[in-house]
């Protein structure tokens, strides 16, 4: 076969003994996520199809809001994801900074665009739900304003890490912004309690019985898990790209891209 300047044999990264830090290695992360991706997409599509079916065909029309309430099946999951992904991003950025863990910083970068996308989705669907129910697309109440700030925090983080040439310095600067901005997440979450907002209170509480019909709740939770699977799939795909971009000069990437067709990637 073709002569190679680099070895084209790699030990199977998944056959090594597992430790807590096993997947902190970009090589192993790349192999593991490559195997996981088709399953994540399958789970996302299945749960999404089930959630939409129950949301549109099984859950009844709401007595007061009519069918406009069906926006809830993506609005609430998107809002949850926007906050959760921000905390994940800040957490991985902090770990990458504190322990000098490259992969953690790459994960933080990979989460940001998907987090911003879900934040936009929460704001957009909220506006289209607000118009028929409140009579307005937008109000500057605490919940809506703090969610908009979340979108700007994502943009700020992405702009900052893109503006600094040295990747590790960019990671550190980004981590600082992400961690400071994390203060906004509890503000969003508790805003409907702390202030008198036009936005309604929490949809689901851990301590009280659900206030909505169980089919509605089922559809919303299915969509939430579908969004989870989606977020894992897209974030892993983007992390794999970042890993390859940064580790392009290493032997393992060399071996990866020179494997013969038919071999597992």
């Amino acid at each position: 076969m073709s002569p190679s300047v680099r070895s084209s044999r790699l030990p199977n990264p998944l056959s090594n003994p597992l430790r807590l830090t096993t997947f902190a290695s970009p090589v192993r992360f790349h192999a593991l996520t490559g195997a996981l991706l088709p399953w994540l997409w399958a789970v996302c599509l299945l749960l999404g199809a089930a959630g939409l079916y129950i949301g549109f065909f099984v859950a009844p029309t709401d007595a007061t809001q009519g069918d406009s309430y069906r926006i809830i099946f993506i609005h609430v999951p998107a809002a949850w994801m926007s906050m959760l992904l921000y905390l994940m991003m800040a957490g991985w950025a902090a770990i990458g900074w504190a322990f000098n863990a490259r992969l953690a910083s790459m994960l933080a970068r990979a989460i940001a665009p998907t987090g911003a996308m879900f934040t936009f989705m929460a704001l957009w669907t909220g506006a289209l739900w607000g118009k028929p129910t409140w009579g307005t697309w937008w109000v500057w109440d605490a919940r809506l304003t703090s969610e908009l700030i979340l979108l700007f925090l994502y943009f700020g983080y992405m702009a900052l890490v893109a503006a600094i040439d040295d990747p590790r310095r960019a990671d550190q600067a980004g981590a600082l912004v992400a961690i400071v901005g994390a203060v906004n997440v509890p503000i969003i979450y508790f805003s409907v309690k702390w202030w008198n907002t036009l936005h309604q209170g929490a949809t689901i509480s851990m301590t009280a019985a659900p206030k909505m019909a169980s089919t509605m709740l089922t559809a919303m939770l299915l969509m939430t898990f579908a969004f989870w699977a989606y977020a894992f799939a897209v974030v892993f795909t983007r992390t794999r790209a970042i890993v390859l971009e940064r580790e392009r000069h290493t032997d393992w990437v060399g071996a990866l891209v020179t494997r013969r067709p038919g071999e597992q990637r």
Partner: protein, 61 residues
């Protein structure tokens, strides 16, 4: 079953614009995000491969 016809389904009890405007834009946003991530992955692989090929050519020379 909530709907007796496709027309009724798309009308969403008069809220069609709001409901489908939400779902349509949400689906588009998810597709765009996923497509950009996949394109970036393909580009990263292609760039790495090109770099190896260049190295090989130099090694042959």
């Amino acid at each position: 079953m909530n709907w007796s016809s496709a027309g009724e389904f798309f009308a969403m009890g008069g809220y069609g614009v709001y409901v489908w405007g939400s779902y349509g834009v949400a689906a588009a946003a998810m597709l765009i995000d996923a497509a950009y991530a996949a394109a970036r992955q393909r580009r990263a692989l292609a760039d790495a491969r090109r770099e190896i090929d260049d190295e090989r050519e130099e090694a042959v020379r």
